[in-house]
């Protein structure tokens, strides 16, 4: 388990990471979200012990990441590169050896990964001879080699075609199944919804969202439902607005109205209801609203804003 406790980082008197707390369980895919300049990279660099925090502790498996026994971790930064003038196999096996594999094991695991990512035919080619997408896959291989316990990926889907995106998703799921902890930083919110169990969002160094992805979305849902039915619904108690939308009806319920009462009312009208689904906002909408409204940024506070604070700020 990755445990980040009250971590703070100050550059030139400016707090770029402010009292951040979160945990990531073993075998979990966890999303680290935030707008550009929010402090994500600094936070990751503190987790990887490239930068030391000014306050707080970071531990993995109960041991400090800055301690003498570092956890097996891998980091694929957003701005990444490879040694260009060396064969693919050598470039990859070198990373394996740095992660503690023997020379032979590093080469064996490199072959497995290259096969898994469809690069086996390029083993002896120079890295510079690979296409951009292939290099991207090789960079992923360099992060995955050595079976890291903690895998930190910053925008791993960038530059991959849909087939390779699917391939990477499959690999991540397999790694999660094997107990690897994955920290995923991305702006592709659909990928977060598909892949991640939980998420943390930081803005200007502050935690502004933290929890299970589905729960965050549900918490931010307005009391709205999408109705699919044969016929036209008439006035129902508890329904504030009713708008036809692409063959459905979008219903905004009053704050006190219970969805079950509204559904019963619709059925009582004799309407053939085929679907009555709550409208859950996509994570992207929540992201935009949270950043634009700047909730949870007041100085001196600890932890993400409460639901009431978010609602008070207009975040639904």
């Amino acid at each position: 388990m990755l445990q980040v406790r009250n971590v703070r980082k100050v550059y030139d008197g400016r707090t770029v990471v402010n009292d951040v707390n979160f945990e990531v369980a073993a075998g979990e895919i966890f999303a680290l979200l935030g707008p550009n300049g929010a402090g994500k990279t600094t936070l990751i660099r503190m987790i990887t012990d490239i930068v030391r925090p000014d306050g707080g502790t970071i531990a993995f498996g109960g041991k400090s990441v800055a301690g003498p026994q570092r956890p097996r971790m891998a980091y694929l930064p957003e701005e990444r590169g490879l040694y260009k003038k060396v064969p693919v196999m050598d470039a990859l096996a070198y990373f394996g050896e740095l992660k503690g594999l023997s020379h032979a094991d590093a080469r064996r695991e490199a072959i497995e990964l290259l096969e898994e990512f469809g690069l086996a035919a390029w083993t002896k080619k120079q890295v510079a001879a690979l296409s951009k997408g292939m290099q991207q896959k090789l960079q992923l291989c360099s992060a995955l080699i050595g079976r890291p316990e903690l895998l930190i990926l910053d925008e791993p889907f960038t530059g991959l075609d849909p087939i390779n995106v699917q391939l990477l998703e499959d690999v991540l799921r397999r790694r999660r199944g094997e107990g690897t902890t994955v920290l995923l930083s991305t702006h592709q919110m659909n990928k977060v919804e598909e892949q991640c169990d939980r998420a943390l969002m930081i803005n200007r160094g502050h935690m502004v969202l933290y929890g299970a992805v589905g729960e965050i979305r549900r918490q931010h849902a307005a009391n709205e439902f999408l109705l699919t039915a044969d016929g036209t619904p008439r006035n129902v108690a508890g329904v504030k607005t009713l708008v036809a939308e692409n063959g459905h009806w979008r219903m905004a319920l009053e704050k006190a109205a219970h969805p079950a009462s509204v559904l019963r009312g619709l059925l009582d009208q004799g309407l053939a209801v085929r679907a009555f689904v709550p409208v859950v906002p996509p994570l992207e909408d929540i992201f935009v609203q949270v950043v634009q409204t700047g909730v949870g940024l007041d100085q001196g506070r600890s932890g993400p804003p409460t639901l009431d604070e978010l609602h008070a700020a207009g975040v639904r």
Partner: protein, 438 residues
């Protein structure tokens, strides 16, 4: 999980092999000495051939004798140059061929203008003008159509011999004449040798006394610069390719740094060590012939100064590579460091002639110039017999090693944090802020 030392060795091995397998390294390893060797041979051979051709060609000289002192002098004679000493041991036991006698034809001209016209027309090769007041002033003028930049190699001895011989003609016997003409040829110059005994000063040894310190100090400076440059290049390339952040997850900056310094220092040492061994092997017979030996202690000091100097310069080079945004910018900064390392050569004559002069002592104690300066002094003393006080060697090494540790510590921090500054080179206040980071 491998131990930290293993990771250092893995990095060192990779850096070393990647560097020595580069075509540029192989070319430098083979071509640099080849260029010096063949350049030296071809250049020397050309100069010798040119000088020999000049010596052996028939001289036709127009003489304008305004003094009248040479009115009765013979106009045709043969000139035989003296036997030159041999420095090459391969030629030492071979029989010496007698010098060739070159015919010299003197033609009298009544005035300078006619003589110069004849020179222009190619009828004569030299015009010798003996001024009317020659006996009191000694002034002579020689005209030649010569386009060479330097005239020191021109052999005027046939002319001066003819002038001297005929000036003294009838005033002395032939033996005294010969002694006068070749005065100094048989002068044995004695100086004290390394053991304090009087010994004939050897021209070849004197040459070695200049070349050996230069070669050894030059090689040391090259080794330090090469290793530092490889490090600078490697760090800059890794910064440009953004590869480092991924690596720092698996290794500590100190391990990465130590591995790089070890591997690339080894590459620099391989380069220069090969040159030194090849140089010593090829010059062993010459050094032995002129009784100059390279003491083992000198090589040991060379290795020590390389280690300390390399750590000092490599740490700075690494910081430059980590802080600058690209290799071109890094190379510009490193140029100044290279100058600092080789600047003792500017005062090389002082180092060789007076290895214990205040300038030599000061520069060999000042860390940036210590390695090159002290090796110049030590190798000069190996030939001349001068004694370098041991306290100076110890202090110089201690100061250089201490400075190396400090630059290494500061360099590690600058490396760790500077490598993360993409696209910009920090200014001095920013560098100071980086150094204050935990």
């Amino acid at each position: 999980m491998s131990r930290p030392t293993n990771k250092v060795l893995i990095i060192a091995r990779r850096e070393y092999l990647t560097t020595v397998r580069r075509k540029a390294f192989v070319f430098t390893l083979l071509l640099t000495p080849a260029i010096f060797f063949f350049g030296g041979i071809v250049s020397t051979r050309l100069q010798i051939n040119q000088a020999l051709a000049k010596l052996n060609e028939t001289r036709i000289v127009a003489v304008v004798d305004s003094s009248g002192l040479y009115a009765g002098a013979p106009l045709t004679f043969g000139y035989t140059p003296p036997v030159e000493p041999i420095f090459d041991p391969r030629q030492a036991n071979k029989p010496v061929a007698a010098p060739k006698t070159v015919p010299v034809f003197m033609r009298r001209y009544t005035d300078q203008k006619t003589a110069l016209d004849s020179l222009e027309a190619g009828n004569v090769k030299t015009v010798l003008v003996v001024s009317s007041d020659f006996l009191s002033s000694g002034r002579l003028r020689v005209y030649e159509k010569d386009t060479r930049a330097f005239t020191s190699s021109t052999d005027y001895r046939p002319l001066t011999n003819w002038l001297s011989r005929n000036l003294l003609s009838g005033l002395t016997d032939s033996l005294r004449m010969e002694r006068t003409l070749w005065m100094g040829r048989s002068l044995d110059y004695y100086t004290k040798d390394r053991d304090g005994r009087w010994a004939i000063k050897d021209d070849a040894k004197e040459m070695a006394g200049f070349l050996l310190p230069f070669a050894i100090a030059f090689m040391l400076a090259m080794a330090i610069i090469s290793g530092g440059q490889y490090l600078l290049q490697g760090v800059s390339e890794e910064k440009e390719s953004r590869i480092l952040e991924s690596m720092l997850c698996s290794v500590t900056p100190t391990e990465l740094l130590a591995g790089k310094m070890l591997g690339l220092g080894g590459a620099g040492l391989t380069l220069v060590g090969t040159w030194i061994l090849a140089g010593l092997y090829s010059s062993a017979s010459v050094l032995s012939f002129i009784h100059v030996s390279v003491p083992a202690s000198l090589l040991a000091y060379g290795l020590l100064y390389f280690l300390c100097g390399y750590i000092f310069y490599a740490s700075i080079m690494m910081s430059v590579g980590a802080l600058t945004s690209n290799l071109r910018e890094a190379t510009q900064f490193s140029g100044y460091l290279t100058i600092l390392n080789v600047c003792p050569f500017w005062a090389m004559v002082v180092f060789i002639n007076t290895p214990n002069s205040p300038l030599a002592v000061a520069m060999s104690l000042f860390p940036p110039t210590a390695a090159t300066s002290m090796m110049l002094r030590l190798s000069a003393s190996a030939v001349s017999g001068a004694v370098i006080p041991p306290w100076q060697i110890a202090t110089s090494l201690a100061l250089l090693a201490g400075s190396g540790v400090v630059t290494l510590m500061l360099g590690s921090k600058l490396f760790r944090l500077g490598m993360l500054l993409y696209g910009k080179t920090p200014n001095l206040p920013e560098i100071m802020r980086i150094l204050r980071q935990p």
